[in-house]
């Protein structure tokens, strides 16, 4: 599964893209976020507080209950500030 990070999430993690192989127990975006925390201190610093994060599945905003499947592209980022 392809995971993308942006803005300060990317900075804290140290890179913007990674490919992960999920254990069978990780089936939703919220579970994925928790599972990613242990990959590095940067991941923990970036992803610990779900309140300040947004998540998108296959280019569409979703919530932390969204089911995920192999082949999905999941992105984690802060609230947007463009325009």
């Amino acid at each position: 599964m392809k995971i993308l990070y942006f803005s300060w999430v990317k900075q804290r993690i140290g890179h913007g893209v990674e490919t992960v192989t999920l254990p069978p127990s990780v089936n939703r975006t919220g579970q994925l976020r928790e599972w990613l925390l242990d990959r590095s201190p940067g991941h923990r610093a970036a992803l610990a507080d779900a309140e300040v994060l947004r998540v998108a599945r296959n280019l569409t905003y979703c919530d932390w209950e969204e089911p995920i499947a192999d082949g999905d592209e999941i992105a984690f980022f802060p609230p947007v500030t463009g325009g």
Binding site: F77, V80, T81, G82
Partner: protein
């Protein structure tokens, strides 16, 4: 029409294209966003825009479709830049063409309000004190809500 690009754009040219859509265009509204040299009382020497390209394209296309569903628009142009910009540089262009001014003006406000809260761009300000990611403004959320989905 949606464009996400690093290079600058020419607002006069974009307005001209909208006015040439057809002889039924009676009004063209536009908004241009620029990099300011101050933000929250702090000097800004550069603004760097991170973005999620494929999702930005998709979200702006969705926003355009939503505006076209709500107003009888003859043309819509959405341009958003990314990368490192200096104060005074253009960031974003929203242009709408319609037979009557109300549709053009209201949809232009709608588009920039939605773009602000929905399009995945992130601004980082550089100043004498270092770099800092811009915090989302509550006001933007509230303006977005006025348009109730």
């Amino acid at each position: 029409m949606v464009r996400i690009q690093q290079e600058d754009f020419d607002p006069g040219h974009e307005l001209a294209l909208l006015s040439q859509i057809g002889p039924n265009v009676g009004g063209i509204a536009s908004f241009v966003g620029l990099v300011r040299d101050m933000a929250g009382g702090r000097p800004v020497t550069a603004l760097t825009l991170d973005h999620y390209h494929e999702m930005s394209v998709k979200m702006l296309e969705n926003i355009e479709a939503e505006a076209r569903a709500r107003w009888p628009l003859l043309g819509v142009t959405l341009i958003h830049r990314y990368g490192r910009l200096s104060p005074g540089e253009r960031i974003v262009f929203v242009g709408t063409a319609a037979a009557h001014r109300q549709a053009a003006l209201d949809s232009c406000s709608f588009l920039i309000d939605w773009l602000k809260t929905d399009a995945p761009f992130w601004k980082e300000e550089t100043g004498p004190a270092g770099r800092q990611w811009v915090a989302p403004r509550k006001e933007d959320e509230e303006r977005r809500k006025r348009w109730r989905q």
